[in-house]
Each structure stands twice: as structure tokens, then as C-alpha cells.
Amino acid sequence: MSVRVLAFFDTRYQTSPELIRYFGSPDPWAGLRTVRPVSRQHAHLNWPSSLGAYDLADPTQAANVVGMAVKAGLDGFVIDLHPDGDHYLTGAEPLAAWCKPDVFGLAFRLQAGRDTFWTAPASKELQQHRAARLVKALAIATPITAGGSPVLIVDQPDKLADPAQFLAILRDEARNAGLPGLYMIANRAVAAEFGRYGFDAAIDPGPDEWASCKPQNKPSGLNILEIEAGLRDSVEMTDKFFSYSLFAVSRMINREARGKVFPRVFPAYQNWPSHTTGGATVLMDRDGPGSVDRYIYGLFVENAITFAHENFAPDERFVFLESWNHWLDGSQIEPSVLDGDLIYNATRNAIDKGRYMTRTRGERPARQLPSSVHDMISQICDAAAAAGGSGR
């Protein structure tokens, strides 16, 4: 099976009454329309071009979105489960209508930190009830599966009151609903951190949760005094600025050692709209914040695909793309007014290249020697490296 590329998708851009109520605005695009940067170091957000300010509730517009994603080589979207009372809203229904097995499907993500039910202790009965609701929300579409089980990403698994019980109950309820189980992915940079609870794999955290290299800005004492005196932009003290290339490269260094952690790739990122009083993460390329280094981004996608191909079992080869339409953090690959279809095309090209490489390379033969030999090799190499190559 080829490496599957799934993009995070924000379903808020629709006029379904439930979503309008949940997000609190009759205009799904109001947030993007009205938000303004308060610093010169925050780039203006972008605006959709060829797909327009779509309404997913309109089947034609939903079909255009899915069609364009398929054309880019994506295998599916990852949709957020929004806790709403005692059930979950996804807004995935308009997209589900256009999904097709083996062509395009949907996976889901639960942001545990935002679901107060799972962060606090509760009786088993209540948990079962809640889990059944969650599983019901997953059952609306052609699912993305691994090992036959629908894929569910759990953000901030450390916030769960009892991760092991959460997994066990959810899997039980999935089986009760007739599913073979759930393929659970923890949002973690190192697979072992939550693997012990029974997660099947992990996914790199987002840029705001895991700074894979040091920030470029580190205000001096003088800078701080200047900021306090109103002589300098305060975001230099409150926000973190990173070089996009270093950020992307450092995520891929020696990543085999992190275990079964699926790569998360992104063309850009700046989440100042959700950090109006500071604390934003801003990635910059040579042209400053908000701009995209398409060269490094394309290679990020391409190398993530070859990495997944070489390191994971055929049915578990995933690369996650942040994002299809997270306009509010500038990571969207949808065609836009400022970038045209450059990022969209860079994504499609990178996926084509990655797939060509993995398709023609075929399956790498399984390791011939037992793992004990490989462990021994590592130990001897370490000892040899410690000896400094002096031949001692």
C-alpha cells in the first residue's frame, strides 16, 4: 500500500445550523475576514481564491473541495470531533457524501484538552455512554483505516484522566458498534511516551506544541527595557519566532529513533490570531513571516513520504499534512489570493515525487539478522565512536 497523505481539515466553513450555533457566527468566514495582526512581525492572513469562501453545506462546493484534494494526491481529511453537550459534532457530513473507498476517506481527531469529560474522573457507565457517542460520530463516513480499524488521533493524551481506561473503553464501544476496533494515534513526538497505554502509534505534535529547534528571537535585557519603554515591538518578548527550514529539518533528524511516529508536515504556521495577548508561534522563511519556502516545504513532504515508506508497515504508512484549510494559522494549502496555487501545486508535485520514489523502490527486504545482532552493532559502534576512531 502506498503512503497515505491525510490533511487536517476545518469543517467550520459551512452554514449548517449546528456548526453556526457551535462557532457562534452566522458567517463561517467571519473570523478570517475580521482578524487583523497587531504587530508588524505578524503577517496578514490569507484568503481563499479558486475555491472561494465556500459553504460546505452546498453539495457542489463540498464536491469541489474534495475533488481538488483528490487531485492533489491526498487520501483523506482529518476532522476534529467537537464536544457538544454529551455528543460530538464533526461537520463532516457534506464531505462524507463525496468520499469513496480506496480513493478518499475521513479520519478524526479528538482534542482531549478541550473535552472536559475525559480530563476528569467519571464512572465507567458514564464513560461507556460517552464513548458510544464518540464512536457514533466516527461512523458517518468512509473511514481511513489501519489494520481494518478506523483511525482516531488523540491530541494532548496527557490531559486524559486515565489514558489506558480511555483506550480500553473506546475500543470496547467500537466493537459493540460493529467496528473491528480503533487505530489510536497519540499526539506525541516519541512513540514510547504513550505507547505503554496501548496507543497504536504517535503523530508529531503541531508547531505550537513542539518547537523542534530553538527560537530565533531571544530579547536581551536592553531589548526588554526598550519594549517596556514602548520603543520596540512587544511580540519579540512574548512570541516565538523560528526559521522554517531549521524547524522542518530538525523534525526529520534521526527520527527513526523516535519510534512509530507519523510525520506532520506543514508549509507555514503562525497562530497569532489565537494568541492576541502573546505566546504565538511564528515560522518564518527568508522572506519573513507568512511567506512559504516552497523548496523546503516540497522536500519536507517528499522526505516524509519516503520515511514513512521505509519505516512503517504497509498498512500504517501515514503522513499528516497541516493543513488543507486552517486559514487561521496560515498553514493552508488551498489556493489563496496571496500565493495562488503555488503551495497547492508544490504539495501535489511533492506527493507525486514521493510516490514515484516509493512505488519504484518497492518494499525494502526485511531485516535479515535478529534484532539482538542489531543491538550488539549499536553497542559496538557507540564504543568505537567513544574510542574516537583512533584504532585503539
Binding site: M252, R348, P365, I377, A384
Partner: protein
């Protein structure tokens, strides 16, 4: 970003737009090759147009160097009085070529001689080829200005390279003017250096059933490579040392010296086509052998035509007992970032030695301190002998690696770092593995210093345990060797 129109005798116009392919081989994609002149894309677009519109009598082809679509071409077509014609910008940069279908049918490969950067030279050449007047129409509102060194569509054309293309078009004009039997003259590739490129060209030429070329210009200093693995093209020996990698001699200057050295007799009796890089080769996912196959005339429209889509040409094994496991290393490439790190090499070598391996290294006497043997390999014969005395060859992305794998078919492990394996590795098999990290800065184009971290080693090499594991896995699989 490649475009063409077809016009039938009744005046019906059909529009076609194409893009450079990235490995999916869709119908509207054209193979991405860096090793050919821009004019090779004129030929390929013409082929596609004729295939799609067999009754076309006129072919209109946009300049491949420009990001054009079919709609744009139609806006310039109105001003064209007749075929053949060249539409240019306000100066003399060609925007599109209007060619009679018969020219393509009869003289397909002669289109390779068009410079695509100088409409005056191209007009003269087309006049000679067609034996008729060729009109030149200027679009005053469009000024391409100075065509840049690199473009978003991955062309890599400095001013010097554009002058090289024009010089070779002028040479072709001279050839046609001086030689009455010009139609029967052979075509020769101009790719006299470097060792790896020559080897890839010869590999490619053996895989192209119908090539544009009969000859190839080769530096005399690579005679042993040519003799060890000749292609289908006869050599035209160039008695010049190969182009130094330190940029002390420019490519343009080298071409001028080459033409001078080759002499009038060669020039008057051959058509010479530029075959060094015109595009960024690493932007393409295709092997350099495949990129050269396209350059030689293969349309490369199916995955099955590619190096990675086919079985290896040759696979061989040594006649050696399995123990001790004998390994031949080549750790230094053509530039610093291609070299496997000294401390990592030492750690891997010491580990392998402690596990019962017998190690030889090419041209690294400094590593003899580790109790291994360093040998010299100054020619293909020495390299062949050395490889055949070892079970496995382990080499960086450089000529010895490519020769040992592609020509000798020897069990090989490739060590890649700041270049992409897909451009120069071999088909993955039980006796071939390409090892590389997955950093998104690869390929960086750096030579002596990492553009990101400023150091002289590339962080994208695999580490010693990964290298040693790969070697021992292959040795176990092929020879039953267990440490």
C-alpha cells in the same frame, strides 16, 4: 507550463498545455529532464501535438523556457502572416515557433539545434532547414528582459549558458552552409565531462532504441571509462583536460576551447547539441540515466521505461568464500559534503573489523591507522579488480559507486547525503541498497559547507549503526555471513 497549438489545413485550431512530470506519468505531463537543451522540449511538444492531432498541418510551439499555456499562444498567433515563423518579444527572445508539419516529419532532430534564446539565429537556421523565408514577428508589448539564471519552472540558464546555446546554433548554421550533404550528417552530444555523467550517458544510450545521436564528444582523459563501457555513440575525442570543479574555468570558455580544439573538420561534419544541465536535475525525481534517455530521444512516457521501473542490467557475485567478509569502501565524493564523516567512518570500520570483516578503502591512506588497507584506483581497470576482490562495495554518490553497480553489477550499498538517491542510485534489490536520511534540506546544492548549519559534514548520512546493520544484513542475505 509547456504549450502548443495545432492548425489543420481548414484552419481549425486545437490547444494543448503540458507540465513537467513529477512521476505520475499523466497524459499531459512531459518527462522532466535536466540533461537536454530547451529545444528537446520543442521536439517533445511537437510529438505530442502530432499524436493528438494527426491531421495538423501547422504546429505552434511555445518557447519551453517560458511559462506559457495554449491560451497565451493564441493571443500572439493573430500577428503571424504565415508558416514558418518565429514570434519574439520586443527584442529577439523567441516566444513561439510556427512550424510546418512537414518540417517536424522530415527533420525532427534538427529542431534540437534551435537555440530558443536567440530568434535571429533560429530564424536563419530554420530558413536553411526549410529552404524558405521564415518571418519574424515582434510583440512590442512583451519584453522578456534578461532571462534569469533559474526560474520557478526549474530552468537553470545563466547568461553564459544562453550564449553556449546560441554558439552551437551558429555552428549548426555554419555546418549547413558549408556542407551540401548536411541532411545526412551525424549528431553529436556535447557532454565531455564528468566521469559519472559520461557513464550515465553511455548507460542511457544503450537503452534508447532510436537515438537522435550517432556520436558523442568526450574528454580524452575519460578514455578508460568509455572503453570499459562504451555507449552506442562513437566517440569524438576532445583533447582537453576535463572541466575543473572549482569554477576556475567557466563552461562557456570551455565550450569555446572545445570547438577550437575539435577543429573545423569536426564542426563542419557534425551537428553538436548541448547536453550538460539546462534544468535543475535534482528537482526531477528521475534517475540521471533516464533524464539522458529523454535527451537522446526517448519520450519516457511510461514508468516501465525508467531505471527504477526495470530490473537491474547486471547482477554479479564474487567467487570468494563467505569468511572473512571482504568489504571495499569509497568514502570521498567529488566535494566535501558528499564525503562520509571521518568519525562515523572510523566507528563503522572499527565495528566491522571487530565483527570479522576484512576492509579495504579507496584513496584514504589516513585510515590505515585503523588497521585497514588503502588502495589507489586511478582507472576503471583498477576499480574493477578491487571490487571483484570484495563481497560488497560501499560507496558515496560518485563514479566508483555508479560503475561498480551499473556496469559490474556488484553488490553495493550507496551512501547518500546532500544529493537525492533517486537521481543516481540503482534499482533497490537484495544486492543494492541506497542509504540516506530524510532531511528536507536534501538536496541542498551545497559543496563544501552545509548551507543551513555552516559545517563541512552533511547531517543526512546514515549513522554508523545503520550503515553496519545494512552491510551485515546484505552479507547475511547474499552470502550467509553471520558476525
Amino acid at each position: 507550463m509547456l504549450a502548443g497549438l495545432t492548425i489543420t489545413s481548414s484552419g481549425r485550431i486545437e490547444r494543448f498545455s503540458f507540465v513537467f512530470g513529477a512521476g505520475a506519468f499523466r497524459e499531459h505531463e512531459i518527462f522532466d529532464s535536466a540533461n537536454c537543451p530547451p529545444s528537446r522540449y520543442l521536439v517533445e511538444v511537437a510529438r505530442r501535438l502530432v499524436l493528438a492531432s494527426p491531421n495538423a498541418s501547422v504546429l505552434v510551439i511555445g518557447n519551453p523556457l517560458l511559462p506559457l499555456n495554449a491560451e497565451k499562444l493564441t493571443t500572439w498567433l493573430d500577428a503571424v502572416p504565415s508558416s514558418p515563423a518565429i514570434v519574439t518579444d520586443a527584442r529577439k527572445f523567441p516566444l513561439l515557433y510556427v512550424l510546418p508539419r512537414g518540417l517536424f516529419d522530415q527533420f525532427e532532430r534538427f529542431l534540437l539545434l534551435l537555440s530558443t534564446v536567440d530568434a535571429v539565429a533560429d530564424q536563419r537556421l530554420l530558413s536553411l532547414l526549410t529552404g524558405s523565408d521564415v518571418s519574424r514577428v515582434r510583440v512590442d508589448s512583451m519584453d522578456i528582459s534578461d532571462f534569469p539564471q533559474s526560474t520557478p519552472t526549474n530552468w537553470f540558464q545563466g547568461e553564459g549558458r544562453q550564449r553556449m546555446l546560441t554558439i552551437l546554433t551558429m555552428a549548426a548554421i555554419q555546418t549547413v552552409e558549408r556542407t551540401p550533404e548536411w541532411k545526412a550528417l551525424p549528431f553529436a552530444t556535447y557532454q565531455p565531462y564528468h566521469a559519472g555523467s559520461l557513464l550515465f550517458l553511455n548507460l542511457a544510450s544503450r537503452q534508447v532504441p532510436t537515438s537522435f545521436f550517432d556520436k558523442q564528444i568526450v574528454c580524452w582523459s575519460y578514455k578508460d571509462i568509455y572503453q570499459a563501457y562504451p555507449g552506442r555513440q562513437a566517440p569524438l575525442w576532445l583533447r582537453l583536460p576535463w572541466l575543473p570543479r572549482d569554477n576556475s574555468v567557466g563552461e562557456l570558455e570551455y565550450l569555446a576551447r572545445s570547438l577550437e580544439r575539435l577543429g573545423t573538420d569536426i564542426i563542419d561534419n557534425h551537428f553538436i547539441v548541448f547536453m550538460r544541465y539546462s534544468r535543475i536535475y535534482s528537482a526531477s525525481p528521475f534517475h540521471l540515466v533516464d533524464q539522458l534517455k529523454f535527451a537522446l530521444g526517448d519520450s519516457m512516457s511510461e514508468q516501465g521505461r525508467t531505471v527504477h521501473g526495470q530490473q537491474p542490467l547486471k547482477s554479479a557475485r564474487p567467487d570468494l568464500p563467505p569468511r572473512p567478509l571482504k568489504l571495499l569502501f569509497h568514502l570521498a565524493g567529488g566535494w566535501k559534503l558528499k564525503n562520509y564523516r571521518d568519525d562515523h567512518a572510523a566507528a563503522a570500520i572499527m565495528t566491522l573489523k571487530s565483527l570479522g570483516c576484512d576492509i579495504t578503502v579507496i584513496d584514504r591512506p589516513d585510515l590505515e591507522r585503523l588497521g585497514i588497507t588503502s588502495i589507489t584506483s586511478n582507472n576503471t581497470q583498477q576499480l574493477t579488480t578491487a571490487a571483484q576482490l570484495n563481497h560488497i562495495f560501499i560507496g558515496v554518490d560518485s563514479f566508483p559507486h555508479h560503475f561498480v553497480r551499473h556496469v559490474l553489477g556488484w553488490p553495493t550499498i550507496g551512501l547518500f547525503a546532500n544529493t537525492k538517491p533517486c537521481n543516481s542510485d540503482a534499482k533497490e534489490a537484495s544486492d543494492y541498497r541506497a542509504l540516506v536520511g530524510h532531511l528536507p534540506c536534501n538536496p541542498c546544492g551545497g559543496h563544501d559547507q552545509c548551507p543551513l548549519f555552516g559545517v563541512s559534514d552533511c547531517a543526512n548520512f546514515v549513522n554508523p549503526p545503520q550503515l553496519v546493520s545494512a552491510i551485515l544484513d546484505m552479507a547475511h542475505d547474499l552470502y550467509g555471513f553471520t558476525p
